[in-house]
Point group: C2
Chain length 154, copies 2
Amino acid sequence: MKLDFSVAVHSLLYLEEKSPEKVTSSKLADLMSINAVVIRNTLSLLHKKGYIKGTVGKNGGYILSQSFDDINVGDLYDLTIPPILSYARFITGDTDNHSIKDKAMAANMSESLTDLFTLADDHYREFYHQFTMMDLKRDLKHHGYFKALAEKKA
Amino acid sequence: MKLDFSVAVHSLLYLEEKSPEKVTSSKLADLMSINAVVIRNTLSLLHKKGYIKGTVGKNGGYILSQSFDDINVGDLYDLTIPPILSYARFITGDTDNHSIKDKAMAANMSESLTDLFTLADDHYREFYHQFTMMDLKRDLKHHGYFKALAEKKA
């Protein structure tokens, strides 16, 4: 879900802006108008990977623990949206009631499309890996930074 | 939906195999174990774009009208899965109840992520545009063709 990725990015941007102030998960939930459970799941992932540090109890909260130059956008994408190919979604043709030749075509097609979709997804993720959170912050301040980079490469 | 793309690919492969024999939409529906309405929608798209020719009535059916070398897999992907970015899915933070600064961050983030996701989707689609249906048929016969091509480029 793209939303989990947005929550991660939004949380990091906010922690960076407030740094060195601590920010609570309920503050982030309120900021994004998102259910606190969703926020806490994402913060837990960011915490596990060492992007943020958290303290509990009174005056608890999260702070950013890595520089934006060191946080790769593709890593955040992979963390919040793990690559899972749902095979059932694109399989056409079952293995019963058909001729051996037709069954073979369906089976071979599933195998080829699985490869094709998997490789396309890898290619897709590479796109995000080009950028750090610092790039994202640049685009936030001056929209068009991503577009200009993409055009330069094309 | 990836399924629409699979249906298009499976239909073309089957028409090519049966050529010059005509194939009915109900035969294709049975072959893929897919609802006939889904099949007919996809065949209608393929027909509009001139990939297949159809005749109605008794002994009616579809035949392939282009060579596999001339049918681009990326064009089929764009045809069956048009690029539509669902903004609502990744927007965090509304425009009420928050400070001007927080609202600006949320608005800027929506704009930057829209650009990022749109460019990533363009990049994703480029992957499919590298291949023709002839390449797909090659991979069907000798699995690993796509993988080998991707590795060569990496």
